[in-house]
């Protein structure tokens, strides 16, 4: 079916996607809107830097990360307050200069609450980004495509995945050529990745 296309990966393995390279972010965004108009939904864009408007064109939802960080921060506030108040008021009240230890002395507990909130918030932000972004991952079918694996920073890449219900290698390849894509390639999976 895709015999006229350059092939990468192992021919005997199933087709993973049809990949294409664009020279400019405008072309990539144009291609995405066309793909959406044609009814494709399983595709992915790869850019060397965040391209404004791409996520909107792809209709990607807003990142959930801010909620994760809010959750992490609120958890930290609870942890910090209980960590400070339980020993100070119940288990081991350490009276210094006759100063109070209960809630009326709340300001003295604030610095640790702030420090812990920032720390757990940051940990939530980074682990959240890693997990939501589908990482960590040691290998990826896209790496079978040498052009992408070696030079992803030199272009704006698009891969239409074979899992798409409208997928037909020949049609996708033709559409991508029409949209001005270069290096349209059939990406098969590599043997090791099986």
């Amino acid at each position: 079916m895709s015999h006229h296309l350059p092939i990468c990966g192992s021919k005997d393995e199933p087709l993973f996607a049809i990949g294409a390279r664009f020279d400019t972010p405008e072309q990539l965004i144009g291609a995405v809107s066309r793909l959406r108009a044609e009814g494709y939904s399983s595709y992915e864009c790869f850019t060397p830097y965040p391209v404004h408007g791409l996520a909107e064109t792809m209709r990607l939802p807003k990142s959930l990360l801010s909620f994760l960080v809010l959750g992490g921060g609120l958890t930290a506030v609870l942890i910090a307050l209980s960590m400070e108040l339980v020993p100070s008021t119940l288990i081991y009240p350490l009276v210094v200069d006759g100063k109070p230890l209960n809630l009326s002395a709340l300001p003295q507990y604030v610095p640790i609450v702030v420090a812990l909130t920032l720390m757990i918030g940051a940990i939530a932000a980074v682990t959240g980004m890693i997990i939501l972004g589908g990482m960590p991952r040691l290998n990826n079918p896209m790496f079978a495509w040498d052009l992408f694996a070696k030079d992803a920073s030199r272009g704006f890449f698009l891969a239409v995945e074979s899992g798409d219900k409208k997928f037909s290698a020949a049609k996708v390849a033709e559409l991508l050529h029409q949209l001005g894509a270069g290096d349209v390639t059939a990406i098969h999976q590599e043997e090791e990745s099986k």
Binding site: Q27, F46, P48, Y49, S63, V126, M135, A152, S153
Partner: protein, 473 residues
């Protein structure tokens, strides 16, 4: 598809605002990638090997001194009654303060969309992380019996003991731990896309594996960038808070005591402006020589960006000068004989040269940066910036020791004299700092490539047509 009508939509806007270019000579994104990666990919230069052997030796000697101190006791330091804090806390404050300019540049200036800071932010963050590591050496070892360091953390234990949560010294533990964690995460997470570029370009198996491991399988998909940009804004927000809180808490170590000369509400502000001042000086000290050894950086780290760091130094240096004057005024105006006495002793006792060195540097050197001729002469800037940090070190030293050696009981007054172990431990932290910074130069991209490329003119579609995403930059 209307995007294809014009290839340079950003040009008219930029010329109207007339901002200095981000990268000189109209270099494009591909040149930026090559220029930054070539530093990591090129052959190890001889100067690097020479520099790291020197800094590594100092670090090793410092480590040996720390070991010697641990097995012998804090008596090997010059600290003695009533000056129980001396070079340990001086150096702790010096290093943790220096870190702050890095956070300010990478986080606060990112949030306020000061794009000029993009090129220097990665190196500034690295400086932050390494300076906190150097600072972290001291609090752990200065307690004397290091094996009891876990007392600092509120862990349930068989003694049934808990730390004093109303003590700023305990707040310090949390502030510094949190500062190190957050700035390391900010630094590392921001680097993931750039590490992936190094992975893609790697030519040897070991490099490919190592960079592949640390870049966590980053591909730069639209989804990944979506979460990444959100994370970057959130981390910048969290880090910006740290710029203010950490020095405030460190300053509280001194300010909440009743010692004259320390017991002042201006201390948090005092420490914070001093921190950004000394950190700006450190950034200039590190980056200007780096441009010499890697000429491609001259186009990436432009004179106009360095000029802005000089102005930051001038502003913070002027704030420091204001605090010095205000502190003296306040001591006089308080009419408190002990407060007045503390400052009188600071300038008239036999250790007055600390205060005189500190004031003569910090009141004059930053003021030279009013002149654009000075800011443009980069070799002079390096010399002045080093002097600023010498001045700041003497400031920390003056605050800690001249105050403690003149306590309430004149019979116990004396002077602090550092021992050889004090000196070699201090130079050891310098060695640790420079060793880490040299490793940083050699093994990771020292400029935030992805952020820089995204900010280059013409790199964004529809630029200038009011179609920004809101959460990007």
């Amino acid at each position: 598809m209307s995007a294809t009508t014009s290839n340079e939509p950003a040009q008219p806007d930029l010329s109207a605002i007339a901002r200095p270019p981000q990268v000189l000579n109209n270099r494009g994104p591909l040149w930026v990638t090559d220029a930054v990666c070539s530093i990591v990919e090129g052959k190890t230069p001889l100067w690097w090997l020479a520099a790291i052997s020197v800094s590594g030796t100092f670090a090793a000697i410092g480590g040996a001194c720390i070991l010697y101190m641990i097995v012998t006791g804090v008596g090997v330091w010059g600290s003695n009654s009533p000056c129980f804090w001396a070079w340990d806390i001086t150096n702790f404050i010096f290093w943790v303060s220096m870190a702050h300019a890095g956070s300010l540049i990478s986080a606060l200036l990112f949030l306020t969309r000061q794009k000029w800071s993009i090129s220097i932010s990665r190196a500034a963050e690295a400086m932050t992380v390494f300076a906190i590591i150097c600072a972290g050496v001291y609090p752990a070892i200065h307690i004397g019996r290091v094996w009891f360091v876990w007392f600092l953390f509120p862990v349930p234990n068989s003694y049934g003991m808990w730390p004093n949560f109303s003590s700023p010294l305990l707040w310090d533990v949390f502030a510094v731990t949190s500062y190190l964690t957050v700035s390391s995460l900010f630094w590392f997470a921001g680097m993931i896309p750039d590490l992936a570029v190094l992975r893609d370009r790697a030519t040897t198996k070991i490099r490919k594996f190592a960079y592949g491991l640390v870049s966590l399988g980053w591909l730069g998909t639209a989804r990944q960038w979506r979460h990444f940009e959100m994370m970057y804004v959130l981390l910048a927000g969290l880090t910006s808070v740290l710029v203010v809180t950490v020095t405030t808490i460190v300053a509280s170590d001194c300010a909440t005591s009743v010692v004259p000369g320390w017991h002042a509400t201006i201390f948090p502000f005092y420490f914070m402006v001093g921190a950004v001042y000394s950190g700006s000086a450190a950034i200039l000290t590190l980056l200007i020589p780096l441009r010499l050894v890697y000429p491609q950086l001259k186009e990436l780290i432009t004179p106009s960006q360095l000029d802005k760091v000089c102005k930051l130094l001038l502003m913070m240096g002027s704030c420091v000068a204001y605090v010095y004057v205000f502190e003296l005024f306040n001591a006089w105006y308080s009419a408190n004989p002990f407060e007045r006495g503390a400052f009188w002793e600071r300038f008239t006792s036999s250790s007055s040269w600390y205060a005189i060195t500190c004031l003569s540097i910090n009141l004059t050197i930053p003021q030279l940066f009013w002149f654009s001729a000075v800011r443009r002469c980069l070799p002079l800037v390096v010399v002045l910036a080093i002097l600023c940090n010498v001045g700041m070190w003497f400031e920390r030293f003056m605050i800690v020791t001249t105050t403690l050696t003149r306590d309430f009981l004149p019979s116990s007054w004396g002077n602090f004299h550092p021992t050889i172990v004090d000196i070699l431990t201090a130079t050891g932290t310098l060695g640790i700092f420079f060793t880490l910074f040299l490793l940083f130069i050699r093994f990771v991209p020292i400029i935030n490539m992805s952020e820089l490329k995204a900010a280059l003119p013409g790199s964004q579609p529809h630029a200038g047509l009011g179609r920004s995403t809101g959460e990007g930059h």
